[in-house]
Symmetry: C4
Subunit: 202 residues, 4 copies
C-alpha cells in the first residue's frame, strides 16, 4: 500500500460523504401537493446543516492532505487508523439529518449529542492518524520540517476537546451546542481567509 | 495541498453530483401497481431536468478544468473558494427535483426560483475561484497566455448575471424561467459543437 | 482538458452508476415485519437485473478504456460526446429498477422498452464517441494500429442495432426482450473468457 | 486496460460501497415525531452492522491493493474476475441492512444467511482474482517475491471456507453467525495492530 493509493481512496470517501449530504436537504422538503414556498422556508435548518457539515468535512479533507503531504511511507496500522477516520467521515450525513430534523423539536438534545459525539470521535481518529505517523517521526518524510510538525501537533491536539466541549453544552442547551458547531466551522473559514494566502506549487 | 489533489476531489464531487441526479427520475415514477406507461409519460419533466442539470454540471466541470489548467499553485483561500463551488454543485440535485416535481403545479414559481438561485450562487463561486486565481496573476502558471486569461475573464463574468436574469423571470413566468435554463445549456452545447474542434494533447 | 482528466471523471461516473444499482435490490425487499425469506425469494428479478446491469456497465467501461487507450488528444466536441455517453450510463439504474419491479406484472412491456431504449441510446453515444475520434484519425495517437482501429469499427458499429432489435422484441414479448439483454451480457463474458487472455502491461 | 486504470475504478467502487453503508443507519432511525433518544438506542444493530461492513470492505480493499501491487499486467479475463469481485462488494450494503433490521426478529436467519452468502461469494471472487493472476505467475511482476506470493496463497485460500462456516452456523443460531462475522473483522484488526508495523514507501 503506497501513500498515493490511500489518498485516492480517502479522497473518494470524503467526496462521496460530502455529496450525500444533499439527501438530508432533499428529505426535509415534502413532495408536490404541499405548499412548496412554505416547505422551503420551513426547511432552513437542513440548509444550515448542509453547509456546516460540508465545510466540516472539507476542513477534515484539507487537514488530511496536510498530514499526507508530510507522510512518506505507510504501514497497516496507519491504514487501519485511516479506515477508522473515514468510517467517521462517512457517518456524518446521518447526525446531520438528525439535527436538521429535530433541532426545533423534542429530539433536539439527542440530535445535538449524536452530532457532537460523531465529530468528537472523528477528531480522535484524526489525532490517532497524525500522532501515529508523527511519534518518533515514524512515517514522516525526511524532508518534513520539524517546526511544521510541531505546529500541527499544537493545532490538532485540542480538536477532540473542542468538539467534546461543544457536545456537552447540549445537556444545557441543544441550540447553543448547534451554534457552537457552526461557530467552529465559521472560525476556521475566517482564519483561513485571513491567513490562508500561502501557496503550494504543483 | 497541490492543484492535482484539489482536482481529484473536485472531479469526485462533480461526478457524484451528476450521477445522483438519477434519483430525481427514480422518485418521479411510481412503483408497481400503477399504470407504468402512463407514469413514464407523466414523468417527462424529470427527464428534461435530468438532462439539463447533467449538462450544466458537465459544463461547470469542463470550465473548472480550464481554470485548473492555468493554475500552477494553490493556497488555502483558493481551496476554500473551491469548496464553496463544490458545495453548490453538490446542491444541484435538490432544486432539480423541485422543478421536475412542481413545474406543472402550484409550486412552479418556488421551484424555478430555487433552481435559478442555486445556479446563480454557483456562478458567483465560480467567478470567485477564477478571479481570486487571476487577480494580479496570483496563482497562474508563468506560461498562462494573457490573451487566454483575458478571454476567460470576458466569458465567466456574465455568468452570474445571466442566471440571475433567468431566475428573476420566474416572478413573471416559472415556465419561461425553466425554458431559459434549458436554453443556456443548449446554447453552450451548440456553441461547443460549432467551435469546439480545437484539441488538447495528453 | 487532457485525456487523463476525462478518464478520471468517466471512471467516477461508471463506478458510481454501477454501485447505485444496489438501491434497486434494496428497494425490492420490504422492511422488518414481512416474511423475510419469502420476500428475498420473491425479489429474484432484482438480483438478475443487478447482475445484468452491473456487467453491462462494466463492459461499457472496458470498451471506453479501449477507446481512450487509442486517443491521444481531445477537443470539446469529443468531451461533449463523452458527457452524453456518461449521462446515459448514469441513467441505467432507473430502467433497471423498472424491469426488476415490473417484469412479472402489467408494466412489463413499458419497463422492457425503457431498459432497451436506454441501452440503445447509450450504444449510439458510444459510437458517436468512437467514430468522432476515429474519423480521419482525428484524435487517435500516431501509434494506434490501423488493424486494431478497423477491428473496433467492426465491433462497435452493430451495438445500437443489437440493442434496438432486443428492444423491439418487447412489443411481442417483454420476457423474451429481458432474456435477450441478459444473453448479450452473458455472451460478452463468455467470449472474453474464451479469448480474453491477451495482456496489457503497466 | 492498464493495472492503474483497473485500480482507480476498483477504488471508486470500494469507496462508494463503504460510504453508502450510512443509508442503512439512516433508514434505521425514524423521522421527527418519534422519541429520538429511544429510537437512537433501539437502532444499535445498525451501528454494529455499519462498523463491521465498513471494516470488512476496508480489509478487502487493503488485500486488493496487495494483489495489485504484485500484478504487472492484466488481461480481459482478469478484469472480468475483478468486475465480479466489485459486483459483490457493491452488494454488501444490502445484506447489511437486512441483518441490521432483522437480527432481533423473525427474519434473523434469512438475514444472517444473506449476509454470509454474500461474503462467501465475495471471498470466492477474491480468490479467483488472485489465483488467476498467480497461477504459473501469469500476471505477476518479475520482481514479485515467491515467498510473498506463497504467503498470500496460504492467507487467501481459507477465506471462502471461513465465511461459509460462519454462514452455516446461521442454521443453528443467527446471532452466533452474526457474532462470527464481527469476530472475523475484529480479529483482522487485532492481527494488523499487532503485526502491521511494516512500512511501504511512496
Amino acid at each position: 500500500m503506497s501513500p498515493g493509493r490511500l489518498e485516492t481512496f480517502a479522497d473518494g470517501v470524503f467526496a462521496i460523504a460530502a455529496t450525500l449530504l444533499i439527501l438530508t436537504v432533499d428529505g426535509a422538503v415534502g413532495g408536490h401537493g404541499a405548499d412548496l414556498a412554505a416547505s422551503l422556508r420551513h426547511a432552513w435548518p437542513a440548509y444550515v446543516g448542509y453547509v456546516v457539515s460540508f465545510v466540516t468535512i472539507g476542513i477534515m479533507w484539507m487537514n488530511h492532505h496536510t498530514v499526507m503531504g508530510l507522510v512518506g511511507r505507510v504501514d497497516r496500522r496507519f491504514v487501519l487508523a485511516n479506515l477508522g477516520l473515514l468510517m467517521c467521515i462517512a457517518f456524518v450525513p446521518f447526525p446531520t439529518r438528525l439535527v436538521a430534523e429535530n433541532i426545533r423539536g423534542d429530539g433536539a438534545q439527542s440530535a445535538a449529542l449524536a452530532y457532537g459525539f460523531t465529530l468528537t470521535v472523528t477528531a480522535v481518529f484524526f489525532n490517532l492518524v497524525w500522532f501515529y505517523a508523527e511519534r518518533g517521526r515514524r512515517l514522516l518524510r525526511d524532508t518534513a520540517d520539524p517546526r511544521v510538525v510541531a505546529g500541527l501537533n499544537r493545532t490538532y491536539l485540542p480538536g477532540p476537546w473542542i468538539y467534546l466541549g461543544a457536545t456537552l453544552v447540549a445537556f444545557a442547551s441543544p441550540t447553543a451546542s448547534a451554534l457552537l458547531y457552526l461557530a467552529i466551522a465559521a472560525l476556521y473559514i475566517f482564519e483561513s481567509s485571513l491567513f490562508g494566502g500561502r501557496t503550494a506549487s504543483d
